[in-house]
């Protein structure tokens, strides 16, 4: 996983509440057995005028001219501004994969759905919760200013706007540490292997019916 340091990135809008994972990456693309390559199909139904299929040549498809991510001014965006309950719906990790593959490294919203929120951290994508009023302010400023960039400092837990306003955000200390160092969750957990084994033996003695049944 890529470590997350400081990010100074262009912001782009996804201006509606309850954006679910079906909107983020429609189900026909879930059939892939790989982890990469989902970026061209991020927000597929909104982004293109036709119906996308896993084998479509996305470069040949008609773009929806009304969809903000297709506007010239948002090209190269790394920060997504979103509304409440972003990422609701299924647990598909394809959603953060699509967002990161597209180039996003952080999402700012008033709230996130639980599973999506934890899936983001596992994929080097930083979900930032700011108060709804602040998010609205950021939206307004972004719409008013072409080339609107935000500075995100994970170490300091701050978002800084071009005018110098600084907003602090909360982040789980463990998640923060992993993200800063680009640490792999599994490797970390396996360092606890002796503790897991001890627990397992105790649990087996206590609940033997849970073990060696499915063989």
């Amino acid at each position: 996983m890529k470590p997350f340091g400081e990010l100074n990135g262009l912001a782009a809008p996804m201006d509606r509440a309850n954006v679910d994972t079906d909107v983020i990456i429609p189900k026909q693309f879930l059939k892939s057995i790989k982890r990469s390559g989902f970026g061209p199909n991020l927000f597929d139904e909104l982004r293109y005028l036709d119906e996308g299929q896993p084998d479509s040549d996305n470069s040949q498809r008609p773009l929806n001219p009304d969809f903000p991510l297709n506007f010239a001014r948002y090209q190269g965006a790394e920060i997504l501004l979103a509304r409440a309950n972003f990422g609701c719906g299924s647990s598909r990790e394809h959603a953060p994969w699509a967002l990161t593959d597209y180039g996003f490294r952080a999402i700012i919203a008033p709230s996130f759905a639980d599973i999506f929120h934890s899936n983001c951290f596992k994929n080097g994508l930083l979900p930032i919760v700011l108060h709804a009023d602040i998010v609205s302010t950021l939206f307004d400023e972004m719409y008013a200013t072409e080339g609107y960039r935000l500075n995100i400092d994970l170490q300091a837990q701050t978002v800084t706007t071009p005018s110098g306003a600084v907003y602090e955000f909360e982040v789980d200390a463990f998640r923060k540490d992993c993200l800063l160092k680009g640490l792999d969750d599994i490797g970390l957990t396996l360092e606890q292997a002796p503790a897991i084994r001890t627990f397992e033996e105790k649990w087996r003695a206590q609940s033997p019916w849970l073990f060696d049944v499915i063989k």
Partner: protein, 476 residues
């Protein structure tokens, strides 16, 4: 000291390690695997040169992509027409083989939707931690288990370490007093709860469903209820263990027997919230107020009793809800003030991990008996949740009743719940569906899903539009 909730007990019994920062390492007893969210996890194991921690903790079954058409199904994996679906199912077979994980293959009689298969085979037991790369894993909480969906990275994490890094949720009790009326089912209860607390109402909480109406539910009904916890924003929902649970579990293939059963039963009987347990939040509903429910919009919280009118934009309190109602009405092709019973339907789908168990099929058959599907319904399909459910329904002759009425009787799988296989809605089509999500495009691009109970879906198929199943008669 205050007593413990059921969730507290399940959490504490699986705690390997609590860290200073409040995260915890939780031991996972059962990991269920299907073909959509596992390939990248196995790919990850391979890339890192890792092996599963404990093979016998895992059970795999393909469900999302398997065809439900008997002819296509007969050809097994090789017979799956869609090459991408075939590749996913084949990849699951290959990965299970390579990593020595037990798989119930496509045409095994036990195959079915993973959330039907788990409890049915006894792979899910009370007191367990159960995870699966699928958000409806909350279903298994009906057995008094701590069960929730995980993402693919976590699938890999569980495979490699038998543990998950978690943070404890808050406790929410949803108590339903009194008894549900005739013709009002667990599905209506689930929808009414979501209508009350909203799709984000359970976010951050583990829900325990309790109260007289919940205790009166069968195991199937409890699974329907817990299944939809995620639609209320909660990763997990659960019901305390009681005699109904024990009777359901006894005799299942993977359930303990003999002295081991006695030992397990003694422990399982402790799996309920203590009388003095403290919940962070409690919501109380009165069962007798709940009528059969129908969703009219594009979120499960956009739900109303069948005798209601579709809401108007003007009646909404603020801009955000005005916008969302407007958008939903537009997508659904409805106008505010229209009676729910005036919504014309094109298709009917009875199935999914929410409502495809034997009780659901019985409920549908009871309504369909001696009647015919209306002429305007292009397709009414019944998709049993597993091969075992299908066989049981056939032993009871339910398939004949349904077929005589004009329903299709399919092979088990997820089917039109998410339209990953060939079963899909056409654009603009309205579907009465017993599944759990009415999001835009969920059952096919442009498709319009209305969530209902199996009885309501069958009644809608017969009438050609929504009707109160209680007026049609024949309901349970």
């Amino acid at each position: 000291m205050a007593g413990k909730t059921l969730y507290d007990k399940l959490w504490e019994s699986h705690l390997v390690e609590l860290r200073d920062d409040g995260t915890a390492l939780i031991y996972i007893d059962r990991h269920l695997i299907h073909e959509v969210t596992s390939p990248q996890a196995f790919e990850g194991l391979r890339l890192a040169g890792r092996q599963p921690w404990r093979r016998d903790a895992n059970l795999a079954v393909p469900d999302h992509n398997v065809p439900t058409d008997a002819e296509e199904r007969a050809g097994g994996v090789a017979g799956i027409l869609d090459p991408v679906s075939r590749l996913q199912v084949q990849t699951l077979d290959d990965n299970c083989e390579a990593f020595d994980i037990v798989e119930i293959p496509i045409n095994d009689i036990r195959q079915g939707i993973v959330h039907v298969v788990g409890p049915e085979t006894g792979a899910t037991l009370p007191g367990m931690t159960v995870v699966c790369g699928d958000s409806h894993t909350s279903t298994h909480g009906a057995l008094g288990a701590l069960a929730h969906g995980i993402g693919t990275s976590e699938v890999e994490h569980v495979l490699a370490t038998q543990c998950l890094i978690q943070r404890k949720m808050k406790n929410l009790r949803v108590r339903v007093d009194g008894r549900l009326g005739l013709g009002v089912t667990a599905k209506d209860l689930a929808l009414a709860i979501i209508g009350t607390i909203g799709t984000a109402g359970g976010t951050g909480y583990a829900i325990e469903f309790a109260g007289e109406a919940v205790q009166a539910l069968s195991m199937e009904g409890r699974m329907t209820l817990c299944n939809m916890s995620i639609e209320a924003g909660a990763r997990m929902g659960m019901v305390a263990v009681d005699q109904v649970t024990l009777d359901y579990v006894k005799g299942r293939p993977y359930a303990p027997t003999g002295a081991l059963w006695d030992q397990a039963e003694a422990y399982w009987r402790t799996l309920h919230s203590d009388v003095d347990a403290v919940f962070d939040r409690e919501v109380v509903l009165q069962a007798q107020d709940i009528k059969p429910q129908v969703t009219w919009g594009t979120s499960p919280e956009m739900v109303l009793p069948v005798d209601a009118m579709v809401p108007t934009i003007e009646a909404q309190a603020d801009e955000v809800s005005k916008n969302s109602v407007k958008r939903a009405l537009q997508y659904m092709g409805l106008h505010g003030g229209q009676a729910i019973t005036d919504i014309k339907l094109d298709r009917v789908f009875i199935g999914s991990c929410t409502n495809s168990r034997i009780e659901d099929i019985r409920e549908a058959a009871l309504v369909a008996k001696g009647r015919k599907v209306a002429a305007n319904i292009k397709q009414a399909m019944v998709v049993p949740g597993s091969g075992e459910v299908k066989a049981q329904a056939e032993r009871e002759g339910l398939h004949t009743i349904l077929l005589d009425a004009g329903f299709e009787w399919r092979e088990p799988g997820c089917s039109m719940c998410l339209a990953m296989n060939a079963d899909k809605l056409g654009s603009g089509e309205h579907c009465a569906s017993t599944s759990n999500r009415n999001f835009e495009g969920r059952q096919g691009i442009g498709g319009r899903t209305h969530l209902v109970s199996p009885g309501m879906a069958a009644a809608a198929a017969i009438a050609g539009h929504f009707v109160d199943v209680r007026e049609l008669g024949g309901h349970a």
